[in-house]
Amino acid sequence: MQINPRRLDKATIFDISGDIDLANSPEIRKTLLSEMREKKTPRVIVNLTNVRYIDSSGVASLVEGLKTARDLGLRFILYGLSPGAREVLQLSRLLKIFEIHEDEEHALA
């Protein structure tokens, strides 16, 4: 799993690749939260295009990201959800809680 922040003018995009599970979700959480608290970019976007699998600890990290963004007054956006990622958000009744877009263009619009 890799997570790399791309800093744009008014947005930070986190490109994540690989499976998100118990082995690496703490790293996702730490990277998301520290970047948000430090940079406070108005829009925080998570690119999940190259993520096939997310476990419950990964979803918990995204929920923490969303809560932190709300506390800081930032928008927290997901895009590029695989069928598996969409299913777990549906199972957790979180699909309507997150702002979700199909691709980067729409996430930045």
């Binding site: 599970d21 118990l22 476990d55 419950s56 199972l91």
Partner: protein, 177 residues
């Protein structure tokens, strides 16, 4: 000097020898009426880095006996969450304790409409799940945590936890409809 255990020990039953040997082009036959065919036994350690290996093996197996991609995702989700619970809670983050996973293709006692079924048993020797944890309703409040058990129940047709002696048993079954 402390003996270093192997990372994982994989064995399959003679019934699984119908596969070509590659995880990506398995072609197993589902169990015939009345059968419960053992397919795969994995013995590995409670290291989260191994979760991906187990998911790949179980996914290849379930697809090979007739589960759709969506149903296979449900199976590996339940297996992964069951294993993560063991690693985090039963073994409290210790990374070198034993976990056994066994899969059967089952065609006995399943609904008539089911084309196939997979039964999975996972055992560990960790602390038991606290009374009340299994039946605790999940809070509707937006908060991280508490999702794993809910996903397992929603993803599988049967989920049973039990303990015999010092061993925890997690048994799960899913039907391919």
């Amino acid at each position: 000097m402390k003996k270093v255990p192997p990372a994982a020990n994989v064995s399959s039953s003679p019934n699984a020898q119908r596969s070509s040997g590659s995880a990506t082009d398995l072609a197993l036959q589902p169990a015939k009426a009345g059968e419960r065919v053992p397919l795969l036994r994995l013995k590995f350690f409670s290291n989260p880095e191994l979760l991906g290996v187990v998911r790949s093996a179980v996914c290849a197996l379930s697809e090979s006996i007739g589960f759709s991609a969506e149903a296979s995702r449900a199976v590996i989700r339940a297996v992964d969450e069951g294993l993560a619970n063991i690693m985090r809670h039963a073994y409290n983050g210790e990374r070198d304790l034993p976990i056994h996973l066994t899969c059967w293709s089952v065609a006995s006692g399943i609904p008539k409409a089911a084309k196939a079924a997979i039964e999975i048993e996972i055992t560990d020797r960790g602390v038991p799940i606290p009374d009340g944890k299994l039946n605790a309703p999940r809070s509707r409040e937006l908060r991280p945590g508490g999702l794993g058990l809910e996903w397992m129940r929603k993803s599988m047709d049967v989920v049973q936890h039990s303990r015999k002696g010092k061993t925890n048993y997690l048994r799960m079954t899913k039907y391919a409809m």
